[in-house]
Amino acid sequence: MGDKRVKAVVVRGTKDINVAKPLEYMELCNEVLEYIKFRNENPIPGVMAILQGLGSPQEMATHDEKWHTENFMWGNSRLRRRDFWNEEIAKAWKDTMENMQTRLISCYNCPMKCGATITPPGQPTYMMKCFSKLTYTMAAMSDLEFGLGIAQSATEYGVDGFSTPQVMAFALELYENGILTDDDMPGMPSDNDGRFYWLLDKIVRREGIGDVLANGTYWAAKEIGKGAEEYAHNNIKKHEQLPLKLSMLNPVYFLMYATGEKINITQIEGQFPQAPYPKREHREAFVKDWFQVPDEKFKQYFLDWEPRGENSNPYYPTVQMSCDIVDWQERMHYIDDGLGMCAGLSSFPLKPPYHMHNYPKFISAGAGIDMDEDKLTQAARRYRTLVRANNIRRGMRRKDEKPPENHWKKRFPELEEELLDTYYKFKGWNNDGIPTKESLHELGLDYVSEDFEKRGVYSDDGDTPSKETSVEKEKEV
């Protein structure tokens, strides 16, 4: 869409949506409705507030931001402020949100209330959801009042709440370090908040440095030169990532960050807890009603996952388990996309109402397509492989599949190699991440392998493993 300079495609339907087997379909809808009510009344214990319930993370309803503000990085994904959250800030931010928020709102025909209408003083009303509540605030090292205010301008302009604040923080870091100078920033105000508004305006109008920054940190750094690339430190596959810097490598997250092609981690994670529960009894309680698992083995994976010791990160979940877990998580996202479903009631939250077992029934009853779990899994694989094939055609290879070097403090190059090697095999890709002829054939995609052959995709990188992924190798360069 960006390439085509299209902001969005809006479809307004006016005709009936027909259902193939109405009574069966309604029965499924009723089951889901009851389960949503159950989940709303029974939040999942032991995880952070935004992961306890359903829907997109409930940032509009949740006031306690200790977790985000102390675990995510501020500025240009640089500073972790471990003691940031206190009573005074909690009160001030709650007041800000309550004063500016008019109502929690829903998307069409959805029982969740993930969004809100926000009216900053003296500015028009806009709609917001999820983590965009904090992105401008944290990128600018400012407060919520500033964040909600500038998000209004950003929304009105039509830029996002994710890469835009990051590229502005990146620009100011370059300025502070003398890579960008006053000549690049003519007329920029001296106050921090004012600088963000100024940069936003430049980016939107593509004026001066704004024209460069509008391409995102990766491309902007290349164009600016003078060592700017060192400051675009939070990219994967040329795209900005969530501002997170952690300690111990998590094998599941390594694979998701490295191989995800929907680029953002939130577009692949979900279903499986992000961290082990400290006590076995809590893990046992968690798996008791975990019927969403596609296979019982996932319960065991979680039961045996310990915060410390032999069964902990980075060697547990094991390489094979990590492949299984990532594959399940990713599959659900691709199914959601294929169906036009929101991740908030399926692929993203823990224990969602739509899952691997009832989706085939919904498709059968709703569309009249004869569907079962195996067929749906295969359809999702086919779709996912096509996305990869498209990126492979555009030059993506194993060397591109690497999380930022500083994402985790503790890295394990050999393990990371093994994770990628095993995952590629598991997915039917060769050692350079290219879907093999055999796996494409199995998915009815022979035309893709023929296209690869014509383009020399297999022969130039094909079966010759490119081992440029490990951190160690990178450092040598």
Partner: protein, 180 residues
């Protein structure tokens, strides 16, 4: 005077402050009234519509009421808590002045029937599917005068008499019987 009779009045209480504009009520209403039941959905066929202007914080679920052949001559605007509501926001009529509450294919008026069905549902489906609790179903008992129901012809005659006067009607009837 007729006898007093107990009657159940079915009511849906609308708490507009709680509505989050999801329109699940519209979807389930149109699905319930589809033939065969639940075989399709389309808010345009719904007997409840959410009048919404999100940026003005206006969310009013309105039920389809009586059909009216003519729109109002003068209209009102309401300002409540500083919000200005459009002239027809609270009106339930299927009316020539707007598109809602008309069957899209035929243009015939739609009217909420409280999801009447056999066997009875516990509550109208819009209420069941409103997880925001903006809609609440209530029943209350009222004592009403029992009136003898008018027959169809009598209703017609009464309308004619209202329009032309009873004398004119009687003259016409007399003339018509002479012709026979």
């Amino acid at each position: 005077m007729g006898e007093k009779k107990k009657k159940i009045i079915k009511t849906i209480k609308v708490d507009a402050d709680k509505c989050n504009g999801c329109r699940a009520c519209e979807v389930i209403c149109s699905a319930f009234h589809a033939t065969p039941k639940y075989s399709s959905n389309n808010p345009a066929r719904s007997r409840i519509r959410v009048i919404r202007h999100p940026l003005k914080d206006i969310y009013i679920p309105v039920y389809a009421g009586e059909y009216t052949p003519a729109e109002c001559a003068g209209r009102d605007k309401y300002v409540i808590d500083g919000k200005e509501y459009e002239e027809c926001a609270f009106c339930r009529a299927s009316c020539p002045s707007r598109d809602i509450f008309k069957e899209p294919d035929s243009g015939l008026p739609l009217k909420c029937d409280m999801c009447e069905s056999d066997p009875d549902l516990e509550e109208p489906l819009c209420v069941k599917w409103c997880l925001a609790d903006a809609l609440t179903y209530e029943e209350r008992e009222e004592e009403v005068e029992e009136e003898e129901e008018q027959e169809e012809m009598e209703i017609g005659l009464e309308a004619l008499a209202d329009k032309f006067g009873l004398d004119k009607i009687m003259d016409s009837v007399a003339r018509m019987s002479m012709k026979d």
